[in-house]
Amino acid sequence: MSSPSPVGTGVVQRVALCGNPNTGKTTLFNALTGLQARVGNYPGVTVDRRQGRLRGRSDIEIIDVPGTYSLTARSADEQIALDVIVGLDPDLTIADRPALLVVCVDATQLARSTYLVLQAQELGARCIVAMTMTDEAGDAAPDPAALARALGCPVVAVVARTGQGVEALRTAIERGLASPPAAAPVRWQPSPALAQKIATVRAALPANWPASDGLALWALASIGDDELTHISPPLRAAVAAAAPAADDDDEAVLGRWTWLDAHVAPLAERAPDRSFTDRLDRVLLHRALGLAVFAAVMFVLFMSLFAWSEPAIAVVEDLFAWLGGLARRVLPDGLVEDFVVDGVIAGVGSVLVFLPQILLLFFFLGLLEDLGYLSRVAYLMDRIMRSMNLHGRAFVPMLSGFACAVPAIMATRTMERQRDRILTMMVIPLMTCSARLPVYTLIIAALFPSSTFGGLSTQSLLMVGMYVFSIVTSLAAAWILSRTVKPLRAKRLPFVIELPPYRAPRLRDITRMMWSKTSMFLREAGTVILACTIALWALLYFPRALPADAPPYGDLIAAAEARHDDVSAADLERARDQALLEHSFGARMGKAIEPAIEPLGFDWKIGVGIIGAFAAREVFVATMGVIYGAGDDEASLRQRLRDERRPDGSPAYAPLAGLSLMVFFALACQCMSTLAVVKRETGGYRWPLFLLAYMTVLAYGASLLVFQLGTLLGF
């Protein structure tokens, strides 16, 4: 934490950077900190915590506060801004309170973005204003000196994307830290009634909070019907006793706005020129054209994740297959070789295989966000998404879910509210991801005859049906979860989004975000995925013993190889692998759960496949290949599935069992990578366990229904 500082005091001073969303705060943070920012997580909430040292000053730390319009808070994630600014984080002591606050004020939205400065000053924060977007405001930009006089704090005009003004801001930060704090200016006087409430609540503020009228007012406005964390019971009681009402809110909000209208709004003489954005919006938000462009953009995004990432994924897979082959040649046969090749190398490969899609998705998200189009996506899709209680911004992550749930879940960060993010994360794994396709393909090709229905092939109809099924179930799940699970319930808070002007994207910010997301995935989710891959490998590998009555495969294979009879050698190897798998711990588990999955139409072999598929759904096909002694020959696997008989001679897998299996795969959370990433994004085990539980129950119930009802109807 505490690296040696050039001034030699060794004390790190903190500077918090806050502002409205879309004010160029992230670009400014990047410009101030250079390339050495660390991204972590705020405890308990799924919000990035980014901090980094001011460039050239290892004794000054900049904390990036999540974008917000106001410091009053009702939910834990809205509370973060206040926690950082006032230093209320329960993990921190009062000494960690930032010594200085840099507030980004958008020159094109002067009054609205200055509202936050007023709130911060009421809370006693020492402020510096960074006036951003001055390039966009053009000659409509307010005079920084006039704003500084009005606010009683330094104002620096910056254009973060060109770096203009960043040096001046640095100097202002250094000077601000050195100068003594000034008294908070008074903008409005509370009425005697409100002043009385403020005084009583102030007396009840916890001892380790700064005792200020501003904080008491914050408590009056925020506490009550809230989901805030670490609010002391005495404070809660004091606020309840003071009985704050809407009139008190009005007084404070109107008091600030009256002052802003009188002193700040006149500084922006003209409205900024929005004609370019307006012209573009006439097309992009048009009833027909706008939706067509939207569809085209989403098509490109989807295809890039679904199909165009394929070559890059193939490169990763080939690379690790090559590495595995290399290791096999180098290492002596045996346990170590199998562990290295099938456990470690395959495991690292199964982590890195996500990178192409993660990088691509975050490239597109960064591009669309920077351009200002992501807010328009929310605007265009809100009507549809809202009917399922989802945020309009959930559209892109859910669409990405058709490619892969892992990057899709990471993409939920583009939503501001915790509740919106988690609800979206809970339904994304229901979308038909590309890892389900090999499973569906195998089942459909093996168990459903290639007939036609109404002129269309039944097999393709089934595939389309599985897609439709996943869309319906995910939307229905969102609707039901948002009505039954308390933390996911829709709030009565207004949906207010800003449609920012269209802006040129900045490649440097985008690549930086791509890198930070990727490294976070590798560090925090990748390790879990690797560990699980190795555990699953061990489950299907050990005890590596054949029953006493098994043929001496080793000798037989050696004999076949001596005869140069490669075909029989390969057959024997497949038979040996089949026998080894059949006696693995995983197979024993499969047999143990057979009674439980029999009502779904599955036997123990499917059970083993399902256990193995936890590593990744497509592994199901490979596991079935080994268990049926077909190796990686899918045509022969299909035939063997068709030929499989029960003890009574009837086919083991009727089309009905296939349908039940597909329904199971559609609904079950058969993917530890998804769970690892949900754990990382939500910062705990609660939500991944909930996800696993609800999807497993859903999958079991639906498959049971399909198979039992189907049997009853005589299919």
């Binding site: 207010v496 989004i497 449609l499």
Partner: protein, 80 residues
């Protein structure tokens, strides 16, 4: 109901018509959020755009653009 017409709401007016907010209704946290964004009595508002699917509305307020749902606009009382 006929008497609802006595009070005009932002959700009821057409595009490109400047009106003045007279009051914001609704539950405490809800209305405070709208007011903190600058939607306070006395503010001039214009609906500049309606999303292709009919909701939400894009409004111009205090020289900036915001997008709110019809449901929320119905909580904003206005005079023409």
């Amino acid at each position: 109901m006929w008497y609802r017409r006595l009070v005009s709401r932002l959700a009821d007016i057409g595009r490109h018509r400047a009106v003045t907010i007279t009051a914001v209704d609704g539950e405490r946290g809800f209305r405070r959020r709208l007011m903190e964004m600058g939607l306070i009595p006395g503010t001039r508002v214009t609906i500049t755009n309606v999303a292709p699917l009919g909701d939400p509305l894009e409004i111009e307020v205090r020289r900036g653009r915001l997008s709110i749902r019809r449901l929320e606009a119905a909580h904003i009382r206005i005079k023409r």
